[in-house]
């Protein structure tokens, strides 16, 4: 067994004639905050979905939290937390009901469930909003609730697909503080983004372009590899290259 939280080998996904992700090789360490950076259509979401068992890879393999995703996708699902791009919780349930539901689905019961739920609620500051319908929350609170539901079963690996889309800057900043808190307790976080300030906050980055991995390393290293002074330069160089 490897010591990596996530390891992919030649991971490839095709949709018809389009290759969304091509021969991707990644090794993410435990407790790392790892960013997937790239313009729209670069294959970030497809990669995350394959790692979560939501999409079958066309080729290659992936080990997540010690489990082979292609062989036993259902087993992976007990060991990961996932936040989709679009708010995926029930808007007609309250915050508390959503937490109860996902706690139950992740196999928590009775007092263990209550204790864990209280912990998550305290950690994310959801206490005042337990009785509010999820549909009435602002973007920032929706995102906290979604993170809460994904954390209930203490997953060793957390996948966040553009978690801060549509969230105001203050909420984004506190969200990132939370992510780093999680990482210090040993949770591995794989996050996609196209905000530069967020990418800077990752321990390491993988930059994707049209399904290819084109740079890998710390934010500074990635910027240099692509040929820009800053990450933002690198990103723009990349985007212009993709569009031409």
């Amino acid at each position: 067994m490897t010591d990596c939280a996530v390891e992919t080998r030649d991971l490839t996904r095709r949709f018809g004639t389009l290759t969304a992700v091509q021969h991707l090789n990644l090794a993410i360490d435990r407790g790392e905050v790892f960013g997937l950076l790239g313009p729209n259509g670069s294959g970030k979401t497809t990669t995350i979905r394959m790692l979560c068992g939501l999409l079958d890879p066309s080729e290659g393999s992936a080990i997540v939290a010690g489990v082979d995703v292609r062989k036993t996708p259902e087993q992976v699902k007990t060991r990961i937390g996932y936040m989709s791009q679009r708010f995926g919780l029930y808007e007609d349930l309250t915050v508390g009901e959503n937490l109860d539901f996902y706690g139950g689905i992740y196999g928590l019961r009775g007092s263990a469930q209550r204790t864990r739920s209280d912990e998550v609620v305290g950690f994310l500051g959801l206490g005042q909003r337990l009785d509010q319908l999820a549909g009435q929350l602002s973007g920032g609170w929706k995102q906290r609730l979604a993170l809460g539901c994904a954390l209930l079963h203490r997953p060793p690996v957390l996948f966040l697909d553009e978690p801060t889309a549509g969230v105001d800057p203050a909420a984004r900043r506190s969200f990132w503080r939370t992510i780093h808190d999680l990482a210090t307790t040993g949770t591995t976080v794989l996050v996609t983004t196209h905000y530069m300030d967020e990418a800077e906050r990752c321990d390491r980055l993988a930059m994707l372009s049209l399904g290819h991995l084109i740079a890998l390393g710390t934010p500074d290293e990635v910027a240099r590899q692509v040929g820009g002074k800053t990450l933002e330069d690198a990103f723009i160089i990349l985007q212009e290259r993709d569009e031409s």
Binding site: F15, R49, C52, G53, L54, L55, D56, P73, E74, K77, T78, I80, Y82, S84, R86, F87, G88, L89, Y90, E91, D92, L93, E97, D100, F101, Y102, G103, G104, I105, Y106, G107, A146, C149
Partner: protein, 370 residues
């Protein structure tokens, strides 16, 4: 076993309770439909507006008109003086039947030379014209017998055939319609609700979050339909209770058997909806497919039109619908008081529908996004 089933059921139940409009429709539909079908729809047509051209104007002619009216099938709307007036009244739709008594009626009757009366019916509506024809023929036969018996000098008839309508001695319409209505209402609501169930989650984006959890496909499917079993049983109870107290539809068989059978049928209908849910991509498609299924459920199941009258091919198609089997069992229990020993075949078929459809739905559903 299935540890995630209970959270799933509870969640579906809360969502159902919170969707007030749908809930109102589910509970309102049975009552409205029952009153509509029970009061408005009558297949035995009575009081057909009738126009009379009496050229004879004798006690005999007035007697025969009276006799026609006494059957209850004809209501004398108008007397006219000539044939064109009578034809006009029928053509305009003021009357649906016309009676013409020629001026030699009484004389011919007296001489025994074969008197005749003409009854004209507007057959563009076959249902009312049929009962008018039957009633006119009945009156003629009665009158003939009276005249012949008087001539032969005897008071009793040589042959008397007595028909005894069993299980529904009053030949009452509600006894036929109400059980059928239970089947139709359950099919309509159960199939439609679950047909939307999974696509709705897909459209709202909640399915993606749900299928990255360890919930199994079976837990998901069974959790989706369970809360609606209660709704179905409530609908059934409401229709049968109203049927009993408003329309006097009897319950001669076992109540337990009634509920057991209905449970099987409800689960089968929910499973059918669930299966549809795995075939379609949008809620709109789900709705269209459910309505596509409704027509045969009404037309071919024996709800309103007798199955033996249908061509064999359509009888076979009817057998592919759970409701066809359910109606047979339901009428058996309600009207005939039939027990399990006579109904096990249909019950087995209903159970098979439920199991096979759930299995198909689980098989077709994938916990991936493509």
């Amino acid at each position: 076993m299935m540890p995630r089933l209970w959270p799933m059921i509870r969640k579906e139940f809360i969502q159902m309770r919170r969707d007030r409009l749908t809930l109102g429709i589910m509970f309102g539909i049975p009552v409205i439909q029952l009153l509509m079908f029970g009061f408005a729809i009558q297949t035995d047509v009575r009081h057909i507006p009738t126009v009379v051209l009496d050229q004879s104007r004798t006690p005999d002619s007035r007697a025969i008109v009276q006799q026609l009216e006494n059957t209850g099938n004809f209501r004398i709307a108008q007397y006219v003086d000539d044939r064109p007036a009578l034809d006009r009244a029928i053509a305009r739709g003021d009357a649906q039947a016309g009676v013409v008594i020629p001026n030699d009626y009484a004389r011919a009757l007296g001489h025994g030379t074969g008197a005749s009366i003409q009854v004209i019916v507007d057959a563009s509506d076959p249902l009312s014209s049929q009962s008018a024809l039957a009633a006119a023929a009945g009156v003629a036969q009665m009158r003939n017998i009276e005249i012949l018996a008087a001539a032969a000098g005897r008071a009793t008839l040589p042959l008397d055939i007595r028909v005894r309508p069993r299980y529904n001695p009053g030949l009452r319409n509600p006894n036929y319609i109400v059980p059928g209505l239970v089947g139709v209402i359950l099919t309509m609501t159960m199939v439609l609700i679950t047909a939307m169930a999974i696509v709705r989650e897909r459209e709202r984006g909640t399915l993606e979050q749900l299928i990255v959890t360890p919930i199994t496909k079976t837990e998901l499917m069974i959790g989706k339909i369970t809360p609606y079993v209660g709704v179905g049983l409530f609908q059934m109870t409401a229709v049968l209770a109203l049927g009993r107290f408003v329309f006097g539809v009897p319950l001669t068989g076992s109540v337990w058997l009634l509920y057991g059978t209905s449970l099987l049928f409800i689960v089968a209908s929910l499973a059918l909806g669930l299966f549809i849910s795995t075939l379609v991509h949008t809620q709109q498609q789900a709705m269209q497919m459910s309505f596509f299924l409704m027509l045969p459920s009404i037309l071919l199941s024996g709800f309103m039109f007798p199955r033996p009258a249908m061509p064999v091919f359509f009888q076979w198609i009817g057998l592919l619908l759970p409701i066809t089997h359910f109606l047979k069992v339901l009428r058996g229990i309600l009207l005939k008081g039939v027990g399990v020993t006579d109904l096990w075949q249909e019950l087995t078929v209903l159970a098979a529908f439920a199991v096979v459809l759930i299995a198909l739905a689980v098989r077709r559903f994938h916990k991936t996004l493509d």
